[in-house]
């Protein structure tokens, strides 16, 4: 199996606070990789370091074998990285199709207009948004916004897609749809890295789980293994169960 993302000794300090400290992990091609941990564990910071929105204080990030530690978010996108946010980041005054078209056009430099349109329509199809193509992004429901976020990232033809709590705020039926969508995307050959709070979702989706606490890696493994780990139960699941 080839490694899609390799993070080595990543650290990010905000002033005196170590949001992420000495974090290393590898994500292999074709897997669904979950990052879990209590609030403030540094999960989103990890995704920001991997996607280039933040520059690490120390450590390195490799994408498909290439060192991208100093690369801009756009360069990482061109190298095959897609990202969807917990707080959606649409272009509000564009239609859905135009939002996705922007991803297709600029995600792959030099792509022809016709190919970009084709790719945009494909991404809308996969995410079930074709019927809403002409709607402005500011008029969507939360579930539709999350689908748009994924569609736009898919249109950039990523090798790996980072999903930041895409299930947050969704009703159970919508979450089931979203799980189906993530699996469909993986079946197209896209590796998935996701952050999630809802444990049943992690159980249903994740091939492997990275557990973080206070900016450090607590443990890593299959869902069944990590959820039996005493440290994880103490740091994370124990508290959740008590609540």
């Amino acid at each position: 199996m080839s490694v899609v993302i390799r993070a080595t000794a990543l650290a990010k300090h905000f002033g005196g606070l170590a949001a992420v400290d000495d974090v290393s992990f590898e994500v292999e091609a074709g897997e669904i990789f979950a990052i879990i941990g209590p609030n403030g564990a540094g999960k989103t910071t990890i995704l920001n370091l991997v996607s280039g929105l933040l520059t690490p204080t120390a450590g390195r990030v490799e994408l498909l074998g290439r060192d991208v530690t100093a690369a801009s978010p756009a360069q990482r996108c061109h190298a095959g990285l897609g990202r969807a946010f917990q707080v959606v980041q649409p272009f509000p005054e564009m239609t859905l199709r135009e939002n996705v078209l922007v991803g297709a056009l600029f995600g792959t430099p030099g792509l022809s207009r016709a190919d970009a349109e084709h790719r945009a329509d494909e991404a809308l199809e996969v995410t079930g948004l074709t019927a809403l193509s002409a709607v402005d992004a500011e008029d969507l429901t939360l579930m539709q916004e999350k689908r748009l976020e994924i569609a736009r990232a898919l249109a950039t033809k990523p090798s790996v897609l980072l999903l930041d709590e895409v299930m947050a705020g969704l009703r159970p039926a919508e979450a089931r749809d979203a799980i189906g969508l993530v699996k469909a995307v993986r079946d197209q050959g896209v590796t998935i890295v996701f952050i999630e709070h809802v444990m049943p979702v992690v159980r249903d989706l994740a091939d492997r789980v990275l557990v973080m606490d206070h900016g450090k890696v607590l443990t890593e493994g299959r869902y069944a293994e990590v959820t039996q780990d005493a440290r994880v139960i103490e740091a994370y699941l124990g508290k959740e169960d008590a609540a």
Binding site: S51, P73, A74, C77, Q89, P90, F91, M94
Partner: protein
Amino acid sequence: MDTTLLVQALVSGVLAAGLYALVSVGLALAIGVIGIVNFAHGEFFMVGAFLAYQLFVTFGIDPVWSLFIVAPALFALGGVIYTSTIRFVLKAPELNQMLLTFGIGIILQNLALLIWGGDPRTIAGISYRGIGYQIGGVSIGLVPLASFVISLVLVLGLYWMLSSTPLGRAMRAVAQNRTGAALVGLEVNRVYLVAFALSALLAGIGGVMIAVIQSPTPVVGFAFTLKAFAIVVVAGLGNVRGILFAALFVAVAESLVATMVPNGDTLRNAVFFAIIFAVLIRRSWRTV
């Protein structure tokens, strides 16, 4: 009331609106896409005017041809100013950004005063400058008419560029969501650079036209910064599409006051301030 005078004032206002829209649309582009309130915008306009003047005096180049020299020159100047200063204050507080652009404006203005002095400069002896048409007692000068048409073509061209080209899409994407744009492969800084340079280019072309319409001094830029701000405020900060109608409104208001009010010519700048105040106060009511 003299109807001919009223019609003349309206026609003059409409003709001026083209040039005003051209200058304002560049300012709106900088505000809308980059989020930079550029107080030096009018100075790009002034530099365009004096480049055209100097090209005429030194090389005898007709201002019509100067357009094709000044446009790339101002694009380059805008690019240099963005790269050397603006990009460093993108995340700074707005007050810092405004002080920076204000300072750049003062530097450009003083450089121009050093080079050309404070007297009005005229591009004299070009044949088409005096040509005008009389239609039912209303006179229309060829130069204002041409400047109106050129401006309108450029503003509509910009609108088309924004709505239908990859560069325009990139600008709108960056304007609407900087983070989202970066993550789908847009180099945000490069888009900002082009937007700022384009903004300077549009102002510079306007400057070439004012060098023929009037006899500008190096302080002409400030007057046009003021006009452009009034128009941008009427259109809504950063709203590029609303500029054309806002320019029409502001230019006609200026022309009517200057023509119909006794001693109105001295009140021109007051018109812009009055419009800015009125619009801002009205907007503040809405949000309270």
